[in-house]
């Protein structure tokens, strides 16, 4: 049993915090928010130059190969800074999945460009009312030399800038994981405004031709890949939520210590300080389950229940900390000239991504049911 974070990973996290702190100052965030696409390309390049886009990419493909756990610490820091960069779809759902499940030639083709920031490969794991990439509604029809893929994916980051978009689709009973070129015939992207404030797209595919060279996985291997991607995605979201919530709580602790009413700092009222203390407890719980799941994935050990539990906590804690922070700020919290609102928007986006707490609690309950029914019979 060891809760220690290695020095190497700690220094990576500090480096990330430093770069993100430089780029994500409030005036810079405001400027990016005025852009046509809310994405900080300069920050993305700075992270690439520091090697931070390649934390979970093999060194043979230009990465640092520090493992999945180190990548979750980057996600945490991005959450803490609310910097508009899609680290989870690109680095977790796409790159980390490809490094584990794609062919050597695909890895050679895509991973070096992701690590050095010259190319973006994003992922589109969710559909309407369906966050399970192992059971997509999209169809992959076999054609000569590849597949024709049809269907819709939602809330996709960087769909117009990406060289490829990782999607899953069904060929009858068989799952297919494909890399879609958004320039291909049959691809339409429609902008979607979302709570978090970054730019997303609905990806509509109508018989998009994907050559065999861009098929990342098939059949049972594809199911394993998408199950892994889903678990990693959930844990990365929980890590990002950790950064978002911790920062919201610190802002709130400081604000209530300075804000005076009735001739005293409002933090000297127990009714106020105890709400912030409850955030502290919630965040520690989230940290524990997130680190547990991240370290299991890092060691290639089963993390199905651990990742569900991490995302359930993530959904509950983001909601509670966000609302408590808003409440303790009074009107100041909702003012767009004050930094809190971005964190609250991110909190809600993360909460509802890759499965809400209600849905995942249902899924965990079914898994408990199966386990106990099986042992009752046996």
């Amino acid at each position: 049993m060891d809760f220690n974070v290695s020095e190497e990973i700690t220094s990576v996290q500090q480096l990330a915090a430093q770069i993100l702190g430089d780029f994500a100052a409030v005036d810079k965030l405001k400027a990016i928010e005025q852009q046509d696409e809310v994405f900080d390309g300069a920050l993305w390049q700075a992270l690439a130059e520091a090697g931070l886009l390649g934390l979970d990419i093999p060194d043979t493909q230009g990465g640092m190969d520090l493992g999945f756990f180190s990548l979750t610490t980057l996600c945490e820091e991005v959450g803490r800074s609310v910097a508009p960069i899609p680290v989870i779809p690109v680095l977790v759902a796409a790159a980390s999945t490809l490094r584990r499940f794609a062919s050597d030639s695909q890895k050679d083709q895509w991973l070096p460009g992701i690590a050095d920031g010259s190319r973006i490969v994003t992922a589109a794991l969710e559909e309407y009312n369906n966050d399970d990439p192992t059971l997509p509604g999209c169809i992959a029809e076999p054609v000569a030399g590849g597949y024709a893929i049809s269907g819709r994916k939602i809330c996709v980051n960087l769909a117009t800038r990406a060289a490829r978009i990782l999607v899953s689709a069904m060929n009858g009973d068989e799952l297919v994981v494909a890399l879609i070129d958004p320039e291909s015939a049959g691809v339409t992207v429609n902008r979607q405004e979302v709570t978090a404030g970054d730019t997303r797209y609905e990806l509509v595919m109508d018989k998009v031709q994907v050559p065999d060279a861009d098929i990342a996985a098939n059949g049972q291997w594809a199911v394993t890949a998408m199950r892994w991607a889903q678990q990693a995605n959930r844990v990365a979201l929980a890590a990002m939520a950790l950064g978002v919530c911790d920062k919201m709580m610190r802002i709130t602790g400081q604000y209530t210590s300075e804000r005076e009413q009735f001739d005293r700092a409002i933090a000297t009222f127990q009714a106020v300080s105890h709400r912030v203390a409850d955030c502290y407890i919630d965040i520690e719980c989230l940290r524990l389950v997130t680190q547990q799941a991240a370290s299991l994935i890092d060691q290639d050990r089963p993390a199905e229940d651990a990742s569900l539990i991490a995302k359930i906590w993530c959904g509950d804690v983001t909601h509670r900390v966000s609302q408590a922070s808003q409440h303790c700020h009074g009107g100041t919290g909702v003012d767009r000239d004050y930094p809190l609102f971005r964190y609250c928007q991110w909190a809600r986006q993360i909460e509802l991504s890759a499965g809400s707490s209600a849905r995942l609690t249902g899924e965990l309950g079914e898994s408990i049911c199966k386990e106990y029914l099986a042992s009752a019979v046996g």
Binding site: D2, H274, Y280, V289
Partner: protein, 393 residues
């Protein structure tokens, strides 16, 4: 980072688990049906406790000089977790928290008498802190000890003195500076043999178990039973409270309730066909319990691990106390809901589910949120020590 037990730690866990099952004899289970013996004290309890001593299971955390094995906090937690899970009324406060303090601060005579007795499983010590008008504000306690030659004359009353009905000593906090405004700076610790003239006990029957009120009426106590410096008691009390929490909220005791209800719901028919566990609302409750339980496990592990690295962070200790106490209460409800009205049937009545264990645990559990330091105080500590917020008033 690898938050799992190592093979050696798992082996220790299994070893303790196997050993403890041999202690829970049918005779002991029968004896524990008596409310006065639920928390130990009967002849069969005394027999098994002495057996633990003879088998070398007591004082594993102590220094080698005291005959211990200097187990790490992580190993100590694994031991504690399994002992609590077994249901044996092991006197943790005696062995893990008071005895090490006595070993470090008591006079030579008393150290041999008490530490040796505990090691053999022959001595149990009750805690005498709370009084009728001193609970959360412990430093306002009024029990007095006045120096008289080589002795102290003790007068006062203690409340919630659990185990005092069979304990061999009371670990007593008393005021030795007559100036009450000195509060915690005027307190001294004593070890009071319960055989002394002037000591008496009356039972207090609670929602859960039996506890006691204890009376100290002109007790003449030799100075050798004073532990630590005169007016230096507060430090010994606060150090002990931190250790106390490590045995109050352990994972195994509630994990076994979850498993018990899971197994029960998998063999119990639902009214419309199928098994109870196939109902979505049952699955919902079990999933809520499981996600909360995972945190209990990780918080306990992290606290034990952190104590092996250095002193435990105050905000962290309080975080564990608040979370676990409130989750335990929630867990009892979520599991009782699955059983419905059958969850109210008490142990030894026909139809009791899981021998009425959760019905009983809920009744005992009502003390958790205020016992061992009220949760409001813990939240104050978190806001100050964890978030640097100003003191509330």
């Amino acid at each position: 980072m690898n938050i799992e037990l190592t093979p050696t730690q798992k082996a220790l866990q299994q070893e303790v688990r196997d050993y403890m099952t041999t202690l829970m004899t049918p005779e002991l289970l029968e004896e524990m049906k008596n409310d006065d013996h639920k928390e130990g004290g009967g002849p069969e309890f005394r027999k098994q406790y002495a057996r633990m001593g003879a088998d070398g299971w007591i004082g594993l955390s102590w220094s080698k000089a005291l005959g211990g094995k200097e187990m790490s906090h992580v190993e100590q937690y694994i031991f504690t977790d399994e002992v609590v899970r077994s249901g044996f009324a092991y006197p943790f406060l005696t062995t893990e928290s008071v005895t090490p303090v006595i070993a470090a601060h008591a006079s030579e005579d008393v150290r041999e008498e008490v530490v040796g007795g505990v090691k053999q499983g022959k001595v149990v010590i009750a805690i005498g802190y709370s009084e009728p008008s001193a609970g959360t504000d412990l430093a306002s306690l009024k029990t007095r000890a006045v120096r008289d030659g080589d002795d102290w004359i003790i007068n006062g009353q203690k409340m919630w003195t659990s185990l005092a009905n069979y304990a061999d000593y009371v670990w007593l906090a008393a005021r030795t500076d007559p100036d009450e405004s000195k509060k915690h700076k005027g307190l001294t610790m004593f070890l009071v043999p319960t055989t002394l003239e002037g000591f008496s006990v009356t039972p207090v029957h609670t929602l859960g178990v039996r506890t006691n009120a204890t009376y100290f009426n002109d007790i003449r106590l030799p100075d050798k039973y004073r532990v630590g410096d005169i007016n230096g008691g507060w430090k010994l009390i606060t150090g002990q409270l931190n250790v106390e929490r490590l045995s109050l909220f352990t994972h195994g005791q509630v994990d076994s309730l979850f498993q018990g209800v899971g197994e029960w719901a998998a063999i119990t028919d639902a009214p419309g066909g199928g098994k109870l566990i196939e109902q979505p609302w049952v699955q919902h409750n079990l999933a809520k319990v499981k996600s909360g339980l995972e945190v209990v496990k990780l918080i306990c592990w992290k606290q034990a691990w952190a104590m092996d690295q250095g002193p435990l962070d105050m905000a962290y200790a309080s975080t564990g106390k608040v979370y676990s106490s409130e989750f335990f209460v929630e867990l009892y409800r979520l599991l009782l809901e699955v059983m419905g009205q059958a969850g109210t049937i008490a142990a030894h009545s026909p139809g009791a589910v899981l021998k009425g264990r959760i019905e009983f645990r809920w009744r005992v559990g009502s003390i958790l949120t205020f016992g061992g330091g009220a949760n409001e105080i813990q939240r104050d500590i978190i806001a100050m020590a964890g978030l640097w917020m100003p003191r509330t008033r």
